[in-house]
């Protein structure tokens, strides 16, 4: 449906890729660990390696949680939105098929938050 308006109503998206000057947005969520309330957001060049995402950003944010130290990284299930994928740590976001405003969700089997609460 088009917006009903008294004059032409068309604008550039407030978060269009061009506005990020060579970077792209990325959202990251640890499933069933809702202590962190919501996913966090990053703006990174598409050339950023996936290992940097895990070793730096994911670790910085989530290591506060007692489950974090117990993660078996070989069993982690990765999703880009609802699609399961297997990231290549050594390769870039782009090469892992991760684009602007993609949502990376990871599930850690057997770990369901504090006292299994999902938090």
């Amino acid at each position: 449906m088009a917006v009903k308006a008294l004059a032409p109503y068309e604008f550039q998206s407030r978060d269009a890729l061009e506005r990020y000057k060579g970077k792209q947005l990325l959202f990251i969520n640890w499933e069933r660990h809702r202590m962190f309330s919501r996913p966090f957001i990053l703006a990174l060049p598409p050339e950023t390696s996936f290992s940097e995402i895990v070793d730096k950003y994911i670790t910085d944010c989530f290591s506060y949680h007692p489950d974090f130290a117990r993660i078996d990284w070989s069993k982690v299930v990765w999703q880009n939105s609802n699609t399961v994928f297997t990231p290549d740590r050594a390769r870039s976001l782009k090469d892992n098929g991760i684009g602007h405003k993609d949502l990376i969700r990871f599930t850690t089997p057997g770990l369901d938050g504090i006292a299994g609460s999902g938090y």
Binding site: V3, K4, A5, L6, A7, P8, Y9, F11
Partner: protein
């Protein structure tokens, strides 16, 4: 545990809000008017463009050709925030209520000479529609004006005009004359004497520049209409027939005397901001004044007969003097 909190003497950590301290250049207590007004309208990071005007922001200084370095320089010398305004009007309505009751109690309306009543009704009653038109035009200024200083004062003025339209209606009712209201409406719609005024009011309803609407409605038109009708015409009725109408239009007179201070202060501040404003205001005033004179001439003739030109001339001179005093030589 009994506490006597009144005995506690605490030094405040700050005196006022950050935006007011920056505006005043010091952290000092601000008046309730200042707290209720200054720098409150959002100016940035609007989420969406209006579907009714996609080319501009929700609040946009481009809705008038007047420019201001500080839109809050358009402040109200009466310092009306809602509480001050409504209490001032509350007092005025109490007086008006007393006047209407007294006229009723003493049977002053019934005792008023028929000729005087007819003369008065012819001039006063159609003005309920003029006030209604004024309400719409002031509502426009309030809706699309930039900054809370102007939007709130215009909002109160717009409600004042609704009140005036209702007081004029009550004037007809006080004389028990509902039919006279219907006749007055017909006159407003059809009688030649009222058409230029109605045209003036309707033309302003499609004028886009809110500041120009204010100049034309509040300054040029009402700056002539109120002195002519609610002052001079009342004087004439008082002298000829007695003061009943003067009592029942007291609200309008007080309102005008008070509201002029605001109108003039706004014009003065805008003219003082930059020379382009000053020129533009002078052009607007001169143009709308000529139209207002044309619109009011037939009504002046109704009211003053052969004296109309003289009375009008005096009113125009007074209006010009107000403009000059506001720093806008015409």
């Amino acid at each position: 545990m009994q506490m006597d909190l009144r005995t506690v003497s605490i030094t405040p950590l700050r005196q006022t809000f950050g935006h007011l301290a920056r505006r005043m250049g010091a952290d000092k207590p601000a008046s309730r008017y200042v707290e209720a007004t200054m720098d409150l309208q959002p100016v940035e990071n609007f989420h969406f463009r209006p579907t009714w005007e996609p080319e501009l922001d929700i609040f946009d200084p481009a809705r008038t050709r007047i420019t201001m370095k500080d839109w809050y320089a358009l402040k109200d010398p009466r310092q009306y925030y809602y509480g001050a305004w409504t209490q001032a009007r509350g007092r005025m309505q109490e007086t008006a209520e007393g006047d209407f009751e007294l006229v009723d109690e003493l049977g002053l309306a019934a005792a008023y000479p028929q000729a005087g009543k007819e003369e008065a009704f012819k001039v006063f009653l159609p003005l309920r529609h003029a006030a209604w038109g004024s309400n719409i035009n002031k509502a426009y200024v309030s809706a699309y004006g930039y900054g809370i200083a102007i939007s709130q004062a215009a909002c109160y003025a717009s409600m004042d005009q609704l009140g005036i339209a209702q007081y004029v209606t009550r004037l007809g009712m006080a004389f028990g004359d509902i039919e006279a209201l219907a006749e007055a409406k017909q006159a407003w719609l059809d009688a030649p004497e009222w058409q230029e005024l109605r045209r003036y009011t309707e033309d302003l309803m499609v004028e886009k520049d809110w500041f120009e609407v204010m100049v034309a409605q509040d300054f040029a038109l009402e700056g002539l209409l109120y002195p002519l009708v609610y002052e001079r015409f009342n004087d004439r009725l008082n002298a000829a027939h007695g003061p009943v109408f003067s009592m029942l239009t007291r609200f309008q007179r007080e309102w005008y005397a008070e509201t002029c201070k605001w109108t003039d202060a706004v014009l003065k501040a805008a003219a003082a901001d930059n020379p382009e404003n000053k020129d533009r205001l002078a052009t607007w005033i001169a143009g709308w004044r000529e139209r207002a004179i044309r619109a009011l001439e037939p009504i002046a003739r109704l009211a003053f007969g052969a004296d109309a030109p003289v009375v009008m001339e005096e009113a125009v001179a007074a209006l010009n003097a107000r403009a000059v005093k506001a720093g806008i030589p015409l």
